[in-house]
Symmetry: C2
Subunit: 695 residues, 2 copies
Amino acid sequence: MSDLDTLSVNTVRGLCMDAIEKARSGHPGTPMGMAPVAYTLWQRFLRFDPADPIWPNRDRFVLSEGHASALLWSLLHLTGVRAVDPDYEVLGRPAVTLEDLKSFRRLDSRCPGHPEYRWTSGVETTTGPLGQGVATSVGMAIAGQWLAARYNRDDYTLFDFDVYALAGDGCMMEGISSEAASLAGHLQLPNLCWIYDSNRVTIEGHTDITFTEDVAARFLAYGWNVTTVADANDLDQVSRAFHTFRAESRRPTLILVHSHIGYGSPVEDSPKAHGTPFGPDGVRATKRFLGLPPDAEFHIPDGIEDWFARGIGARGARLRADWEKAFDAYRGAHPSLADELERIQRRELPDGWDSALPAFPADPKGLATRDSSGQVLTAVAQAVPWVLGGSADLAPSTRTRLAFAGAGDFQPGDRAGRNLHLGIREHAAAAVANGMALTKLRPYWSGFLIFSDYAKAAIRLSALMEIPTVHIFTHDSIGVGEDGPTHQPVEQLAGLRATPGLLVFRPADAGEVVETWRVVAALRHEPAALVLSRQALPTLDRADGRIAGASGVAQGAYVLVDAPSGEPRVILLATGSEVATALAAHDELTAEGIASRVVSMPCWELFDRQPREYRDQVLPPEVAARVAVEEASTLGWDRYVGDGGAVVGMHTFGASAPLKQLLTKFGFTPERVAQVAREVLARTDRGGPGEEVTP
Amino acid sequence: MSDLDTLSVNTVRGLCMDAIEKARSGHPGTPMGMAPVAYTLWQRFLRFDPADPIWPNRDRFVLSEGHASALLWSLLHLTGVRAVDPDYEVLGRPAVTLEDLKSFRRLDSRCPGHPEYRWTSGVETTTGPLGQGVATSVGMAIAGQWLAARYNRDDYTLFDFDVYALAGDGCMMEGISSEAASLAGHLQLPNLCWIYDSNRVTIEGHTDITFTEDVAARFLAYGWNVTTVADANDLDQVSRAFHTFRAESRRPTLILVHSHIGYGSPVEDSPKAHGTPFGPDGVRATKRFLGLPPDAEFHIPDGIEDWFARGIGARGARLRADWEKAFDAYRGAHPSLADELERIQRRELPDGWDSALPAFPADPKGLATRDSSGQVLTAVAQAVPWVLGGSADLAPSTRTRLAFAGAGDFQPGDRAGRNLHLGIREHAAAAVANGMALTKLRPYWSGFLIFSDYAKAAIRLSALMEIPTVHIFTHDSIGVGEDGPTHQPVEQLAGLRATPGLLVFRPADAGEVVETWRVVAALRHEPAALVLSRQALPTLDRADGRIAGASGVAQGAYVLVDAPSGEPRVILLATGSEVATALAAHDELTAEGIASRVVSMPCWELFDRQPREYRDQVLPPEVAARVAVEEASTLGWDRYVGDGGAVVGMHTFGASAPLKQLLTKFGFTPERVAQVAREVLARTDRGGPGEEVTP
């Protein structure tokens, strides 16, 4: 351990303290305790070129204890990591300037309170909600193994990156980390290293009050390699642990580091060190203890930046240059694979990827949208080799297994397999998919819609990060039938639709499923949730012109069938399985001479983005009589049905019974929809207000 | 193992197969494999009186693998468990008749697809979503320990019940079970026994494809006692395992049972056995293998019911009679404690429980609703000794710690403590609270609103079960400030409000907090979510009559301040921290001579239940100019603002910055609200449509 090592570590600590102090807000505890470990990793081990923070074969560093963001910001600044624009162009300017550090936690600073992916380059994934980072890191490690299996060739090791995640006691307590660790252990991911910052202090006190399990034994039970560092400040011990990880070839590694929260400060080893600035006196005292000039703020001693440049900087530059050279040769030897890799990096699909999407002939019996989606997914995956994914143990039910020749299973013995068995671990499944999406693969995962609840926090992060994770949810309503209310989603659609930036699709038939995938597969910066039926839905006959083609999915909502006159008196709005119900109600109304229009509304978010003109075409303001039908909470539909309208929806939980009985019980029959339409029409003709319909 | 044992086990299996076959739907795999274990537990060990399935000191049996419901229905039928009405009156009729079994999974059958609490007596908690049952069982075990510590006296052991939970591979994989097991291990709950049905088969195949961890070692790491049964069919081995549990005095116990999914059927040990009926031929073949008459359906051999009556029936009757006798004596010796216990069983509160609720004087600076809520909670807990709870490691931030003398911490050394340290385990925290509520205590748990996502599946179950769990969420908006978008809820309110039966409260000031708790504490069959601010909110001056008293909280929404004329031209609707913003906007409008009304709307669900007349008084239909203000997704507000209105809400995720900057950035200032009100007024005066406001 050289003087420069010590000075570097303490410089990082000083910057963290100063940033937090200036912000009067932040979490100094972990940066103080773990600076030596993060420093050792970055300076001595991390294969990362600050000049190109998106070099595809870089080692990934995930700060799972995201509240320690100041630690990351300080390292990004000191190592001179460059900024990257939203379309993956490396820019000349630094990711984090000293000014950014000084405006930590201020509006528009590149140093927000927690690491935000796409906002600050060098951030590999957004963290803060505990456990998400470590679970996401498993997806990155899977992606690394998969990329290596598909793209490495005898003479070309294009991918051999490692994934490091720094985790605290909180990450270890969260269930998602258990799920992810169990999966990673099963998959024997040798490129995954979690560093456990065991400071044994959380907000309520010492972990003795609630967290007394033997974490090392638990990870051994998962099949991990476990090594311990007795003193976070001992850089040689820390280095030895990283060497142990590097030498491990068939297990993930947990490095259990005994550390001191708020090291060197007056509140060391106290919960007070976690999330409160030390105060001016505390900072000065700590700087004195660390041998830093007590009154110098944001002090970077001469030579420190150069020292980082000679360490991580020089190593990263050399490795990346070698890689670029190798890739140039690879492009000559394997042009098609190289082309794939370049498209992956730009998040582009192969030309003509959608030319072989299946078409579904009209069929009154039809098929479940889970089935048509499964067929379309297969076509997409055949056209796009880096589409891969899995299910939370429900692939036979969600129809997401890729069964074509060569698809294979991703397992310790087959790293090129494209079917993941994620286990009954929805939360980790979504986070793993996020990790794969962050590595720029095109991943999906699947489960029942009701279990989106288990994964919600990870789904949210895909939206916040603006990454194109595809969340596939089947068994989307009381259509689940006999399994009953525990398995019948009611409020899940509302929660997903309220999530900014998440595109929620509920297609009505196989035709809409094709168009949904056409939109979804091409997404580059948005996640999507597909909401699919368990039960068969008629495949609409869109050939004769009466029923519109399904391309309107791209606008989010479209006129599916209009009144013969083109001047409807009442509009029926529906999504998914209820579109067929609305169509039957429309026929009933037509037979009575009531002019009605059916609007299929598979994606609210896309519809809301359309120009007012288009929206008014679909939902003419002068037609106040509107009935929405959806087997879900009515929350949100009022925006579309307006004051004059009514919503046929769910006001209670479902029930256990065959589907047909449930449709009658809860009022989702054509007769009932037509009846509500008549009532609404009568009311709006009188100018009276609408009323929500309770069955 | 007697002939009657064997016959009983196979009778259970036969009933399960027949019920599933008749329903053409259900999950035969686990009932066939685990019938011997469930039988042994019920017949030889469970201290449960079928004649009084709500006897307070009964052992609890939780079927965490809820898809195996046929197993429970068969046992409830064969043991003659009585029905109980919703107000806890034991009825003469059986909980499950043979007819019910024959209508398994049909509408209104007492035998739905999964066990539903309150629908079928003998069901201790609703299960089906995997992992929930085991996590809930931890709450029941905590409640058992707490009840014993508070109410047992030297001569009276009123509480010594055990809690058994039957769990499958899925339960073990879900993160929530890891959280709950870690907590239970820490708490050293000796009255908790999980039975792990290790059949190593899930829907996608053998667990070898994704679940290869050493579960026994993992539980040893948590601090559990682990014992193994090599053959589920060996009743003596199974009995020995239960004796091992009974002998354990300081750890929870995991009984790892090696079992065969679909035992005896043609699909034994195959994923096909999990969730598909065997078919008529399969059933006949299986019955033949088991020595049952192959063509007799729903066959109960003579003497079997009597055998159960002599086993669990006689034991339960004797134990309960002894208990009732003891309780009669206890009532004499400890009348006040006995009175508490009787109120607990009826879910009633002590007389005058709300007489000492704090009052908060008007204060323009005010205090955060987390702070006022903490004070009110303390008063409630002092008045109601069986109010207890904890936090997912955030008590210092959520202000939910009970700090009065004697409150104590619930720990291995203090079973009477009323503060639980639940750890950074939100999902288990909510499920544990549910388990305590199911044991009829009045529990709460707390966390940040953003982390309600982690706990959503358990929150949902509290609503589905209609139990009064109190979910306390603070840091409820962009008011979180510097921690940024990962910690700022946007869509959570929508998801919670869309959940049927969950009362969501977002009080505006300390006055509304008091009234919120007045409603919430008295709830008997509904859960509540309290949504509270991190930042200080003015305590409104309700004394002079200009601002209405807060008792309107009970109606969900009320006129807080009206136009001096009583004839507003525009209505401002708000909740929580935005009520003060709306009041300031109201003042601005008033100064301009624009008559406006402010409606505080702390609980949509309660408002929706009011008669139309009241709702029209608060929101007169003739006033179309309405502006809602809430720092959350706008989803759902259209119902209240109507076509003419506008919503000032969140359309993106938040940002990391001090609160004041965020309010300006996202448009939550009085000036902006007043401006939107003017615009809306101008539009509605012209008769034009409203428009959602995007900042």
